[in-house]
Amino acid sequence: MRQPEVRCVEFVEQVTQWLEGGLTDEERLLFEEHLAYCSPCSRFMVQFRQSLALSRMADGYMRQGPPPMVRAALQDAFRQSRR
């Protein structure tokens, strides 16, 4: 028997699982079917992905970088590991 379709209220809870490949084949099909026909949920998905992309930019440590002394030591280590 076919499972009940995914509604929006379920869809929004499954996004991370879907992105991580954590849904079963059947769940994935139902999820993707919903995504294909529900435009509010596809807008939700765009926002979700955009906020993911923004999170990746939110890296204060990368912007500042490690202290210079540490950076030098790390570069050394990388050079050695590549040998």
């Binding site: 809870e13 939700f44 955009q50």
Partner: protein, 185 residues
């Protein structure tokens, strides 16, 4: 790194200490560093261990510790990704949006993107310690699910629930920002 440390310790000063100690640990440990894990994961392992130790020390002198909050890695508490009032509760369309997201996309404007980014950082900083930890390690630092589960000693399922809740709140912040822009400006 500060954001991760803050999840375990009470003050910004303590977190800064932990980050300092971590850099020292990284330098001192470089010879022992093997390539079984990425350098980044290894560095976070040092960071989390130091922050935990520090947090435990603090916990003895405080009634409530961030560590206790952290132990509430408890997905049983129901916390929906989207405010339930935004879905229909009755009739044929029950469970479907009644108040759907209106604006889909962020314009490709670097000023707007930077402004949205600032809101998102504030949103991440405002999350519960465990959600903040997971989203920082996964989405900001780019560690894998397996690395984060190992580092924080959480199950794959709990890691995913925490990540989804954190991401959902961050998305909601972006939506608010987009709506503000569309409405206000």
């Amino acid at each position: 790194m500060l954001r991760v440390a803050r999840s375990y310790v009470a003050t910004r000063e303590a977190a800064e200490d932990v980050v300092q100690e971590t850099w020292l640990g990284v330098i001192n440990g470089l010879d022992r560093f093997e390539e079984r894990s990425s350098l980044k994961t290894w560095m976070f392992r040092i960071l989390v261990n130091r922050a935990k130790t520090r947090g435990e020390r603090e916990a003895r002198s405080r009634p409530f510790s961030s560590l206790e909050t952290l132990d509430l890695l408890d997905p049983r508490v129901d916390e929906p990704a989207v405010d339930p009032s935004r879905f229909n509760t009755h009739g044929r369309w029950a469970g479907y949006w009644s108040s759907p997201p209106s604006v889909a996309a962020l314009p490709e404007d670097s000023v707007v993107i930077a402004e949205a980014g600032e809101r998102l950082v504030a949103a991440i900083d405002g999350l519960s310690p465990s959600q903040r930890l997971v989203i920082t390690l996964r989405d900001v630092q780019g560690l894998s699910a397996a690395e984060v589960c190992d580092l924080l000693q959480v199950s794959e399922g709990n890691q995913r629930v925490l990540l989804h809740r954190a991401r959902s709140k961050v998305r909601a912040t972006l939506e608010c920002y987009l709506d503000d822009r569309a409405g206000g400006a």
